[in-house]
Amino acid sequence: MRRVVSGSLYLAVGALAGVGSAVGAIEIYGAVPVAPESPWMSFEVSPNSPVQPYAVAHFLMAGRLPPALGQMREFTSQRSSDGGVLSSACDYELVAAPAPAQWWSLSASGGGKSEPDTVITADMAIAENDGSVRVVVSRNANPGNWIRPPAGEAFTLTYMVAEASTSQAGGVLPAFAIARSRC
């Protein structure tokens, strides 16, 4: 009897460790930094990627579908360019110089839900005189391009950009630098 209980305990620990490592791997393995110093992460949903099952699972577990490879690429960031964690207590200025050539969208989500409160897209954004695009992320209303992050502490920025062609898959990088402007 003791052996059966002991054996079952081993199996239960093994199963729990397996599920726990799967949940962790879905969050960690799927996301790959786009460049060594960049705050932007990309989820490698390409079938050629060894982490593809984890990357696809990352989207499905959040109740959403992955971006269509060859049409859209999606990048997320939970940090500013100086490495600080994005917080709704601070204001951030996102600058792309020059403006992205393809259609794009930017949104901020957090507070336990994946749906963003506001989304700004290439169609809505107003470019600066020098051709750059500046987007302010702040809880307070701002003139120009403005995203309101969700209430609470940490939030995630999501940048989605259309790919010009399938031959450029993997070649589009996030154009926006994330500068903390005020806390």
């Binding site: 081993y10 620990v13 499905l60 109740g63 971006p67 269509a68 999501t158």
Partner: protein
């Protein structure tokens, strides 16, 4: 020795639980989401995705968009999806029931807003071996997509520049058809 046996058994249980979770749980969540959005129409029918479902399934897509979808099931035979979209940027993406993208195309790649996609179950290895090997003529028009998974979701997305465009774009997209193919694949 007995302890080593149980440690190895725990290790294999952990590997099985890890793989099972990564491969099955996300798929179950996706199938649940597909069943929920297509509950009113059922499989192989085209429907417009309401704004809240758009936001849930594609949170980084702009709110000023129109989206239509078809929850296809090719287990009983091929399914065809036809659309006639107005000029402008649009994408068609076909996901299988595991969340993998089977096929995707946009307005520039397509060259036309009027298209038909024929979805069919991919033949198994035994079916391929049994096939005669002759190139049988096909009377299918449009693109053909074969899938090993028999179910999935085809989504057409078209963004609108302003809110005034939404009703006309929505009306055009709603004319799209998804049905069991009357022609054999």
């Amino acid at each position: 020795m007995r302890r080593l046996f149980w440690i190895l058994a725990a290790l294999f249980t952990g590997i099985a639980a890890h793989s099972g979770f990564v491969l099955l749980v996300p798929q179950l969540k996706l199938n649940h989401a597909i069943a929920r959005v297509s509950a009113a129409t059922g499989p192989n029918r085209f429907f417009m995705l309401p704004a809240d479902d758009q936001l849930r399934l594609f949170p980084s897509y702009p709110p000023m968009s129109v989206m239509g979808a078809c929850a296809f099931d090719v287990s009983q035979g091929p399914v065809e999806l036809s659309a006639n979209l107005p000029p402008g940027f649009w994408t068609l993406t076909i996901f299988d029931s595991t969340g993998n993208v089977l096929f995707t195309v946009n307005d520039a790649q397509s060259g036309t807003g009027s298209f038909t996609v024929n979805l069919a179950r991919a033949p198994s290895l035994i079916e391929m071996l049994k096939a005669s090997g002759s190139d049988e003529p096909s009377d299918l028009t449009g693109w053909k997509v074969s899938t090993a998974e028999t179910t999935g979701l085809a989504v057409i997305w078209q963004p609108a520049v302003d809110a005034a465009e939404l009703p006309s774009r929505s009306q055009s997209l709603a004319q799209s058809l998804c049905r069991r193919s009357p022609k054999p694949a």
